[in-house]
Symmetry: C2
Subunit: 196 residues, 2 copies
């Protein structure tokens, strides 16, 4: 079996791959995501997520000739704006207030690259319907989750207490967690990283 | 907050509830599921899953007056047959062979009961498309998963290596894991078990 390199420091992405039985090593890309996102003002969520995932995969793949490298990114669009990670709990409180009672769109993109060339790209979308959240609920939620929630775009772990935010979710669950896993596993079978 | 009683010994259902921030105690129902399923020959997967979930909730709720009790069940239908848990690895091998390259339907039902009366019922369906599985893959899969897989209807943990079985999954992810969590959380908010 060939070995995969994950170009991401995300614990949840590594956890998804490991749980699915994929072997890999981790080599996080060093990338100024904020600058890249700013440069793409006006682009839709899927295009931005794919561009960021590809940039990460290409950067690491250029440094590791011959390796198959996975880059990934998750982007949330709310009312025409692309949402980044919140810098502090006050920003998280504001974001949860904005999301309350609204739909937002989430896209997780994955790109495989080898020798600084993308060989596979996929974007998995989901529509997330947040129920009307009372201010008291938001305070309890932030207190229970703590600053760990700031590591997650949208300030929720859907596989945990974050499920309490939602009325309805349509789309691919694994993309909601950060990786379009089923299409990715298909690509990894084609590449001989896992058995078919 | 009122306290919920889970009428199930399933570790994955308890794990889902706990991760979502729901407090509960466990009081498994003692029920002859095989006899109940046999009595319902010809009924569709959702009806059977709801009937089994309700039977569990009612049995425990009768023993615990005043408590809100959650019963749950997952049923898989494949080519007109309802699938039960496999008794041994040989049966698991046969089932995986039957599922290979086919769609099956999965339904997870949840029922809340109080004082031996159902107060809420929901069935969450999903369509699971299994890719064509090579005999070599099936052997590797069974060796990697081991007998723990026999505790799961369909012989897969979708949140783990089971993801490698699937080409496509349409429907509610949490139902695939064993509980229609979002509608259930809505009912638990109404019942005052979790904050809204």
């Amino acid at each position: 079996m060939k070995r995969l390199v994950l170009a991401s420091a995300s614990a949840s992405r590594a956890g998804l791959l490991r749980a699915a039985g994929v072997e890999f090593s981790v080599h996080p890309a060093e990338l100024d995501e904020t600058a890249l996102m700013a440069a793409m003002t006006g682009a839709d969520a899927a295009s931005v997520a794919l561009a960021l995932a590809e940039a990460k995969a290409l950067a690491v793949s250029a440094a590791l000739p011959g390796s198959l490298v996975l880059g990934a990114d998750t982007v949330i669009a709310l009312g025409g704006d692309l949402i980044s990670k919140c810098p502090d709990m006050e920003a998280a409180r504001t974001l949860l207030g904005r999301m309350s009672g609204q739909d937002h769109r989430l896209v997780s993109a994955a790109v495989l690259a080898r020798d600084a060339k993308a060989v596979w790209r996929h974007a998995g979308p989901a529509t997330m319907t947040v129920r009307p959240l009372s201010p008291a609920f938001v305070e309890d939620y932030l207190a229970a989750e703590g600053p760990a929630i700031l590591s997650s775009v949208g300030c929720y772990h859907y596989e945990g207490r974050g499920a309490q935010l939602f009325e309805k979710v349509e789309g691919d669950y694994f993309s909601v967690l950060g990786l379009p896993l089923l299409p990715l596993l298909g690509a990894l079978r084609q590449e001989g990283v896992i058995a078919s």
